[in-house]
């Protein structure tokens, strides 16, 4: 809502500067988003001039060279000004911008030579001042301002509204009454205590009662609580006077003609939209308000044809629909230059229905944005009174007696009991009942003192917003209270801030990855259907059970991601293409699948990681970290996974398994007991190629399952006070025997004395023979009470060797 400050000050002038007005409005709930300056600057350079002489430019047919008397503004004599307007002539009083003037678009006027003739300024058209849109010619001031005394040199700002500060206000949706200047003036009155002028509609030049010459029929009163109309005759269509055009321009509206401008002006002042019909173009002089037929088409003022449904309301005459109620008028009955009889419609429409129609038709207007918030039926006559006065004053019109007024009288104003103690209890600061009454009075509420507070009557325009005691508390608090609240803390009975076990597990898992050098990314929840194809997900795969948006921003954002792989690969691609040699990233976030049983999605919090590129930077010490390969392969990512799972002391394992987007020979499921946490593997080369990535390894696990498997509390286990005995053995086995199986057998054979067995080297080559490989195992023996010797463990070792030979193993070396 743009409110020109001079207009506002007409109704409430707190004699404060703009900054102070901004502060008070903002701190009482009407936020000033910006303060604009509308119009010109360096205003002293704009003066009235009299054209003494006007001759054609010697070298340009369309230019005139004028001698303009600027009076005291240029005592040395008339100024020479080159003018391009066709209508400029000697004897005219004109507006002149002298060099140094700053025009509405911010450009500064300089002396200029036009086709060889020096021009000292500019003779003004109204659009150049942003007080109108006409550029057909310059303003001839004695025509525009017949009642104004014009003399050369008079400051132009004294005769035309050249500049205004304009407040851009954020009006919250509960306050349609502030979508009118007078409503904002009332706020300013309450916020500052400055007097408020009587409502500009308090004196009505029209009358109530029967109106002859037009008829209105409302067939759907539930959607049209009130419909009023007045008729004006002897209307002369013309341009509006400069003050009105300038005010509309400053408020952001384009002047059209006096009648249309009056409807806009009355709306901007009262908040209530109006619509003017050319009564002679209303067939049968009868308007019918009815629900539209499904599929009915109406051509609106913007030249478009709109297709309606039966929730929408049309206003029609004997020849069919002329307007879509509350949204936009029709072409057929629009006011035109030859209009002499006007029917002024001011109606109240059902807000929710207007809102719906407006969205359905994608048709938003100044009117619909007001109607949809629910206006009070009382506002109809406010707007009629405003329009009636202006129609008479500006269009020379005659108002016919009477007002068509269809609709049941509005419900009586509700009263609410406001307990003084309740105000204190909600706010935590005391506001005396007397002060409460004063604030509410300023906001047009009526109050009556009660022993424990006030009985409050709500004004009509606030009926929708203020229905309960708490709403009154807000009214009081926003004017006087919120800005002087003490800062206290709640009692916090029983409060004990904490994280849940799954939240702690999530943090710990993320921290483990950070400790291993991975950077967290935050990807989009949205993805495109093509992702599933790029990941080679087959048709019936569970990852195809996606959640689809009905109204995505684009096809590329139309699904919720069923896996973190898309964002990890996208981010890897982004960084590789920007020259990053090493990608080590993870994401911790929700993934979504359509749920069979619930209308909501099956969401779980997943943790995914990706490695690609050179894992270790080159070092001056040569090589990479001892014993690690530098490639982002299966074992690199499995090591990272082990760091995460190791954090929770889980007994986890992997089993070779196939995933559509993973290398079939280098992928596995991650399990704890029977619970599958997720997968680990190298990205399938065909998938990696889609993202232009070299060898890339990933894992993803379900953090909810991890949290369920992880013990919330670690319990102490006794450990021996004597050192363990460590031995290594190397065994040659058929390649097909999995390392996990070897270790399982060894641990079983070793019994309680063998506390640990790990593979620390793998060799395959000619020395061990085709189809075989050598595994070097590190064995740790421990007795609880004594130091073991080689002799002590010899029998255990024998059993281990026997177990290995059952797997086809032979000791090496």
């Amino acid at each position: 809502m743009r409110v020109p400050l001079p207009w506002l000050r007409e109704y409430c002038d707190p004699e404060l500067d703009t900054a102070a007005i901004e502060q008070r409005l903002t701190m009482t709930g009407t936020k000033v988003e910006a303060i604009h300056r509308h119009g010109v600057d360096a205003i002293e350079n704009f003066v009235v001039g009299e054209v003494l002489k006007c001759e054609r430019h010697p070298d340009a047919d369309r230019l005139s060279v004028c001698e303009v008397d600027l009076g005291g503004a240029r005592p040395e004599g008339p100024a020479t000004i080159v003018c391009g307007a066709a209508n400029v002539a000697a004897g005219q009083f004109v507006g002149v911008a002298r060099p140094g003037s700053i025009m509405p678009d911010g450009t500064k006027l300089k002396k200029a030579k036009l086709r060889g003739v020096a021009s000292e300024g500019m003779i003004l058209a109204e659009d150049e001042l942003a007080i109108g849109v006409d550029h057909d010619g310059i303003m001839v001031l004695q025509d525009l301002l017949p009642e104004v005394e014009l003399q050369p040199g008079r400051p132009l700002a004294e005769v035309l509204p050249l500049a205004a500060e304009v407040l851009e206000l954020e009006i919250t949706p509960n306050r349609p009454d502030c979508l009118g200047v007078y409503g904002v003036a009332r706020e300013l009155h309450a916020a500052t205590g400055a007097p408020l002028a009587p409502a500009p509609w308090s004196e009505d030049l029209g009358s109530s009662g029967e109106l002859a010459g037009a008829e209105v029929l409302v067939e759907c009163p539930e959607l049209c609580p009130r419909f009023t109309a007045r008729v004006f005759e002897d209307v002369t269509i013309a341009q509006s006077p400069p003050w009105l055009k300038a005010r509309l321009m400053a408020a952001g509206q384009r002047p059209i003609n006096n009648v249309v401008d009056i409807t806009n002006y009355a709306m901007l002042l009262s908040g209530q939209p109006l619509h003017a019909f050319d009564l002679d173009r209303v067939a049968g002089a009868r308007l019918r308000v009815r629900r539209a037929q499904p599929g009915e088409q109406v051509q609106t003022l913007d030249g478009q044809t709109r297709t309606l449904d039966e929730q929408m309301v049309v206003i029609e005459d004997a020849e069919g629909p002329t307007s879509i109620a509350g949204l936009m008028g029709g072409v057929r009955s629009e006011v035109q230059s030859d209009t002499t009889r006007v029917l002024m419609e001011v109606a109240t429409w059902n807000g929710p229905n207007i809102h719906r129609s407006s969205w359905q038709l994608a048709l938003r207007s100044e009117a619909s944005s007001r109607f949809e918030k629910g206006l009070a039926p009382e506002q109809c006559l406010h707007a009629q009174a405003l329009a009636t006065r202006l129609m008479i004053e500006l269009c020379g019109a005659r108002v016919l007696p009477g007002t068509i007024d269809v609709g049941s009288p509005p419900a009586p104003a509700p009263t609410i009991h406001l307990r003084e103690a309740r105000v204190q209890r909600i706010l935590g600061v005391t506001i005396a009942s007397v002060r409460q009454a004063e604030i509410l009075g300023a906001l047009d509420f009526q109050t009556q003192a009660l022993p424990d507070g006030l009985q409050v009557t709500v004004p009509a325009v606030r009926r929708e917003d203020v229905t309960r005691e708490i709403d009154l508390i807000e009214e009081v608090a926003r004017i006087d209270g919120v800005d002087r609240l003490p800062a206290t803390l709640p009692a916090r009975r029983g409060a004990a801030g904490s994280l849940s076990h799954p939240q702690r597990v999530r943090r710990a898992a993320e921290d483990a990855l950070v400790g291993r050098g991975l950077h967290e990314i935050v990807g989009w929840s949205f993805t495109d259907p093509g992702l599933l194809d790029r990941l080679r997900i087959p048709a019936e795969h569970h990852l195809r059970q996606v959640v689809t948006l009905e109204n995505p921003l684009s096809e590329a954002q139309s699904l919720l991601r069923p896996t973190l792989m898309g964002s990890l690969l996208d981010v890897a691609h982004h960084n590789v293409s920007r020259g990053q040699p090493k990608i080590a990233i993870f994401e911790s976030g929700a993934v979504y699948r359509a749920a069979a049983e619930s209308p909501l999605a099956d969401e779980h919090h997943a943790l995914g990681a990706l490695l690609s590129g050179e894992l270790q930077p080159r070092s001056w010490r040569g090589g990479t970290a001892a014993g690690t390969a530098n490639e982002a392969d299966f074992f690199a990512i499995k090591g990272v996974l082990a760091a995460v799972l190791g954090r929770f002391k889980l007994d986890w394992r992997v089993e070779a398994a196939q995933w559509p987007f993973l290398h079939p020979g280098r992928s596995a499921s991650v399990l704890v007991g029977d619970v599958k946490l997720g997968f680990v593997g190298e990205i399938h080369p065909l998938v990696a190629a889609q993202w232009d990535l070299a060898r890339t390894a990933v894992f993803a696990i379900d953090l909810g399952k991890l949290a369920a498997a992880a013990a919330p509390v670690a319990h102490f286990k006794a450990f021996a006070s004597v050192p363990p005995l460590r031995q290594d053995i190397a065994v040659v086995l058929p390649e097909v025997v999995a390392a996990a199986e070897v270790l399982e057998r060894v641990l079983k054979a070793g019994g309680s004395t063998l506390t640990q067995a790990e593979v620390f080297d793998v060799y395959s080559g000619p020395q061990v023979g085709e189809g075989k490989r050598s595994l070097a195992l590190a064995l740790t023996f421990q007795a609880p009470d004594r130091t073991l010797t080689d002799e002590d463990v010899a029998p255990v070792r024998k059993r281990i060797i026997a177990a290995l030979s059952e797997l086809g193993g032979e000791l090496r070396g």
């Binding site: 206290t488 929840s525 959640v547 921003l553 920007r578």
Partner: protein, 355 residues
């Protein structure tokens, strides 16, 4: 015999003093005190001497041996100290070469780090961290939060719909209702999470993150909200910060406020030392950080009383506050991040700056 001992001692002492390396010293130790050396032989031979000689010779030999051992120890320490000194000199390295193997830590995304920081601040104030579904029903997202049937946020131009009754939550507020359904008052919770609005321009991304707060008890006032958020503002933006509450409108709080924090860039003055207008607060001296208010009584009315939350939420008996803050906005203000898109681009050069 005694003379021989004295001579040996003198000879050994002279040699030991003259020795210049630890190896030479060790050779001398073997020569004079080793198994086959003369002095130990003499000592072993004491038993075969005449009884009247035994005492004197034994004592002399023993004394000589102890003296030599002490001297060796002393010389050994002196020599190894000097040798170590030499060795350390020779071992000197260029300490400015990088450590190896270089294993830099990774880092949390600045949005996660900020969310954790917020969680930790509010946990310190007694709030428990809860989370809820992102795909949410219209009931929890709008209806139960007192949004009128025509509230513009419901429009399909503003909110992502999965079906007529299911949306991507537009705020973390639905969890207010779910939390109250699951727990009786008093209740102190914060709800971090991802939310969605159908906006995409320089200042909006269709997904972003919020941290919701909800405190409900018998007597929680708007002043308590101010105190809580003052504690938050100081923890995040510095001890000198102030907050102001500005009346506003939200469907599910009444009274509603927007909360501004005094600008930390210009100390709330609106302009910098050199007189330039503060670019961060645009000269206002205040930064809009979040929306909040006292929970609207209608919201309590939407919470059914069940076994889980008995005695339930009676609007005449309980009251409290709620807020919703944007994580992106807070991180942006705090770290001077100029563009929302940086968060979701995940360029490593961005991520590394906050690790």
């Amino acid at each position: 015999m005694i003379e021989r001992i004295e001579a040996l001692k003198a000879e050994a002492e002279a040699s030991l003093v003259a020795a210049t390396t630890s190896e030479a010293l060790e050779e001398l130790r073997v020569r004079y005190l080793g198994r086959k050396a003369e002095l130990p032989q003499l000592l072993r031979g004491v038993a075969s001497l005449q009884p009247e000689q035994r005492g004197a010779v034994g004592r002399a030999a023993n004394q000589a041996r102890q003296a030599l051992e002490a001297l060796i120890e002393q010389r050994s320490q002196a020599l190894s100290g000097a040798e170590l000194e030499t060795q350390l000199q020779a071992d000197q390295v260029d300490v400015t070469l990088p450590g190896a193997p270089p294993q830099p830590l990774g880092g949390l995304h600045v949005l996660s780090a900020t969310t954790r920081e917020l969680e930790d601040i509010f946990m310190g104030l007694g709030f428990t961290v809860l989370e809820g579904p992102e795909v949410e029903t219209v009931h929890y997202n709008f209806d139960a939060l007192n949004h009128s049937p025509t509230h513009p946020a419901r429009a399909r131009t503003d909110t992502f719909y999965v079906s007529d009754e299911v949306v991507l939550r537009t705020h973390t507020s639905p969890m207010q209702i779910r939390a109250m359904e699951a727990h009786p008052p008093p209740l102190y919770v914060v709800i971090p999470g991802r939310v969605y609005r159908r906006d995409l321009d320089a200042t909006h991304t269709p997904q972003f993150h919020q941290v919701e707060g909800l405190a409900v008890d018998e007597d929680i006032t708007l002043a308590d909200l101010k105190g809580t958020l003052l504690a938050f503002a100081r923890a995040i933006f510095g001890d000198e910060r102030d907050v102001r509450l500005r009346p506003h409108f939200f469907p599910f709080t009444e009274p509603s406020v927007e909360v501004d924090v005094s600008c930390f860039n210009c100390e709330g003055r609106g302009f910098l030392r050199d007189g330039a207008r503060c670019h961060l607060c645009k000269g206002e001296g205040w930064l809009e950080v979040l929306g909040a208010g006292e929970v609207d009584p209608n919201v309590y009315a939407h919470v059914p009383t069940t076994a889980a939350n008995a005695p339930g939420y009676d609007p005449e008996k309980v009251q409290g506050f709620a807020w919703g803050m944007g994580v992106e906005r807070i991180a942006m203000l705090k770290h001077g991040i100029p563009d929302l898109r940086l968060y979701y681009e995940n360029d490593l050069r961005f991520l590394e700056q906050f690790s």
